[in-house]
């Protein structure tokens, strides 16, 4: 057993950390305040490969696998969850569905621009009436000649306002429903009838725009079908399964940032005549955070290894998302307590971290859904089939 990262990944982490520290950290607060990531930053991140970490070099990706992707998400979310979320939705589920099941022609058409960040992807599953019950989608895709006509609405779509390529799930056979009757389509932003909504006003992740997507008789050519007709739900579920591991990596970065800030403040802040680091109440919080983070790190990187080595990973990926989001929430909550009133100041990082952390328990499958995923994987072993 070898717990050392291969040397190329250490070098990659070092480069990413340097870029993030130098180029993103100084503007992270402004990104939150202005609710926008500067396009210039997106362009520069694209030049370095942020938008295509796990994808092959031939498409302009880094060719760094799930391991490289997890390292990037950990480092990015440590500093700026807004940017991490844009990229997570782009790579982890948006481009991933195209990469998993898209035709070679479709991949060649879109992936070079997507991997370089010149174009941004979105993954459109959730609808006003289909959240955790993802199979309850109602959006229709009707065959008309050589095209499908898409009609309906998607909701809470990360990257919605800025996405250039939207992978959207719609019912091609309403009688069969989502399982067997749904298909994924790659839709371009400029196409007639497609209108992203205005960005939602959210508690956190202000720099990561989220919106409704309106599809009013959008004509999609048949070659823009991603994967097989009728099997789109499977494509999306596969993408979500993989995405959970990297989401866990992101929460790891957030939790780590909480711990580092807490240690520093415990050393700096003096009360009762000495640094609060000397108080057991503070020590216990810090020790608990560190222990949970270490367990999470082991889980996340083992799961990345499972994915890169073609092993079954669905249960572990669900655990990454579940354990990661709850660990990150606990850590930022403790960090806020350690920082006292300073933790609540909008001029300090803890308040932003607190707002940004909470969504991880909800998006890309609520933690309740994760528990069901994990349980169903476990129950399968004894012949019990769970369907949410």
């Amino acid at each position: 057993m070898n717990y050392d990262l291969p040397p190329e990944y250490n070098a990659l982490r070092r480069m990413l950390r340097e870029f993030i520290t130098e180029e993103i950290a100084p503007v992270a607060k402004k990104i939150d305040e202005d609710s926008v990531v500067p396009p210039e930053l997106i362009r520069r991140m694209g030049d370095v490969g942020f938008f295509g970490v796990p994808f092959p070099r031939e498409y302009g990706g880094m060719g760094a696998g799930e391991l490289g992707y997890c390292i990037m998400m950990e480092e990015l979310n440590r500093v700026c969850p807004s940017v991490a979320t844009i990229i997570g939705a782009h790579i982890g589920i948006g481009v991933m569905s195209l990469y998993l099941d898209g035709s070679k022609a479709l991949q060649q058409k879109y992936m070079p621009d997507l991997c370089s960040g010149r174009k941004i992807a979105a993954f459109a599953l959730t609808e006003p009436n289909a959240g955790s019950d993802a199979a309850g989608i109602q959006m229709r895709a009707t065959l008309e000649g050589d095209s499908y006509i898409l009609d309906g609405q998607k909701m809470w779509i990360t990257n919605g306002p800025i996405a250039d390529v939207i992978n959207v799930l719609a019912l091609t056979d309403p009688a069969l429903g989502a399982r067997g009757g749904a298909t994924v389509f790659a839709v371009e932003r400029e196409w007639a009838g497609y209108t992203p909504g205005k960005p939602e006003s959210k508690m956190g992740l202000h720099g990561s725009p989220t919106s409704l997507l309106n599809f009013d008789e959008v004509r999609v050519p048949r070659e823009n079908v991603v994967g097989q007709i009728g099997l789109g739900f499977v494509t999306f579920m596969k993408a979500l399964d993989i995405g959970r591991a990297s989401l866990g990596a992101a929460t790891l970065g957030g939790a780590q940032a909480s711990l580092e800030a807490s240690i520093r403040w415990a050393r700096t802040r003096q009360q009762f005549g000495r640094p609060i680091a000397h108080m057991q109440s503070i020590q216990f919080m810090i020790a608990d955070m560190a222990a949970e983070i270490e367990a999470l790190r082991a889980l996340v990187y083992r799961t990345a290894w499972l994915i890169d080595n073609g092993r079954p990973f669905i249960k572990e990926a669900g655990m990454c998302k579940l354990l990661g989001s709850e660990t990150a929430s606990r850590c930022i909550d403790r960090a806020l307590q350690i920082h006292g009133a300073l933790g609540l100041s909008r001029d300090f990082t803890i308040e932003r971290g607190f707002r940004d952390a909470r969504i991880s328990e909800i998006f890309e499958g609520t933690n309740e859904i994760q528990r069901i995923v994990i349980a169903s994987e476990l129950m399968q072993g004894v012949g019990v089939r769970i369907r949410p």
């Binding site: 100084p26 403040w265 700096t268 802040r269 003096q270 300073l342 100041s345 001029d347 300090f348």
Partner: protein, 325 residues
């Protein structure tokens, strides 16, 4: 009597490849080179060696400051200095060579080391002579002065560039005697050419990376004094900033607040004028390498983090400081 004299006396070349004597090289900034003469004189005495001075200073003056032999050399560029000194030293074989540590001194010293296959230690801040080993152990800063290495040169000649401010100006002894030997100037083989003034705009440094920061707080300050602080910052090439109270007073923008709430800084020099220095402020400035604190109240906690403390009104202190720069 040195080897050259003996050779002249005997009228034949003597095959001795021994390096001897100490040389102080003055590339034109005599005020910086002169203190090296005093230190080298002491070493020459304890080694029983001659001290040579090569440079543009008046010969009598160089002798009065400690030189035994003066080799007049007009100030010229680094290329010419290297060519002439390399030829001179190839023949004279100095044991130790000292130059003032500045851009030109460092360049010439290192180039001479390359040409003569000697060894060089740059920017020394302390020299310790080991007479028995006939070597100088030199302390020189590394990692931007975080600590020093103590290095010795094992090749010959041993060349050092020295920060002149570490040695006092030697006392003049007008009774000393010495000799003057002319130097044959050599032309550089690959001269560089000065093409005159050039435009260069260093990239703007954000506050968190500024090498110098002048910051104001409300302690004893008023709008007029803040303007003096602003001038001081401009004079020092420093970023102008302030603490939370300065922002509340409308003297600085929100982006220029220094502290944990605001921007954390780690400059080489931090001048805090009228800043009280609570935990939030000091935690955000703890990386500063040299802190000057000016505050009217001697109990201000900023003084607990100050390398230089001035208890006084910024309106009195700042104009005086500005006038001295």
């Amino acid at each position: 009597m040195n080897l050259n004299d003996l050779q002249a006396l005997m009228g034949e070349a003597i095959e001795i490849d021994e390096y001897r004597d100490l040389w102080v090289v003055d590339l034109g900034n005599t005020a910086r080179a002169a203190p090296l003469l005093g230190e080298a004189r002491r070493m020459a005495d304890s080694l029983g060696a001659y001290l040579h001075y090569v440079g543009p200073a008046d010969s009598g003056e160089a002798i009065a400051l400690g030189a035994d032999r003066v080799h007049p050399l007009a100030a010229a560029g680094a290329d010419a200095a290297v060519a002439t000194l390399a030829a001179l030293f190839a023949n004279a074989k100095p044991e130790f060579v000292f130059l003032a540590a500045d851009e030109t001194g460092n360049e010439v010293a290192a180039r001479l080391a390359g040409r003569l296959h000697g060894g060089v230690v740059l920017n020394c801040i302390a020299l310790r002579l080991d007479e028995a080993a006939r070597e100088v152990v030199a302390s020189h800063p590394v990692y931007d002065g975080a600590h020093y290495l103590d290095s010795a040169v094992t090749a010959k000649p041993q060349i050092f560039t020295v920060r002149p401010e570490i040695f006092p100006m030697p006392a003049r002894d007008s009774g000393r005697t010495g000799e003057v030997e002319p130097v044959a100037a050599s032309e550089p083989e690959h001269p560089s050419r000065d093409t005159g003034p050039a435009a260069h705009t260093p990239p703007a440094t954000p506050l968190h990376k500024a090498a110098r920061v002048v910051a104001v707080g409300r302690g004893g300050n008023d709008a007029a004094t803040v303007e003096v602080a602003r001038l001081l910052a401009a004079k020092l090439g420093a970023h102008f900033a302030g603490d939370r109270s300065a922002f509340d007073s409308g003297w600085i923008g929100k982006e220029d607040i220094v502290g944990v709430i605001g921007t954390e800084i780690a400059p080489d020099v931090y001048i805090a004028a009228g800043i009280w220095g609570d935990t939030l402020h000091r935690a955000g400035t703890e990386g500063a390498k040299f802190v000057v604190a000016i505050h009217p109240d001697a109990s201000a906690p900023i003084f607990n983090a100050a390398d230089a403390a001035v208890v006084g009104q910024p309106k009195d202190v700042l104009p005086r400081l500005l006038a001295l720069l």
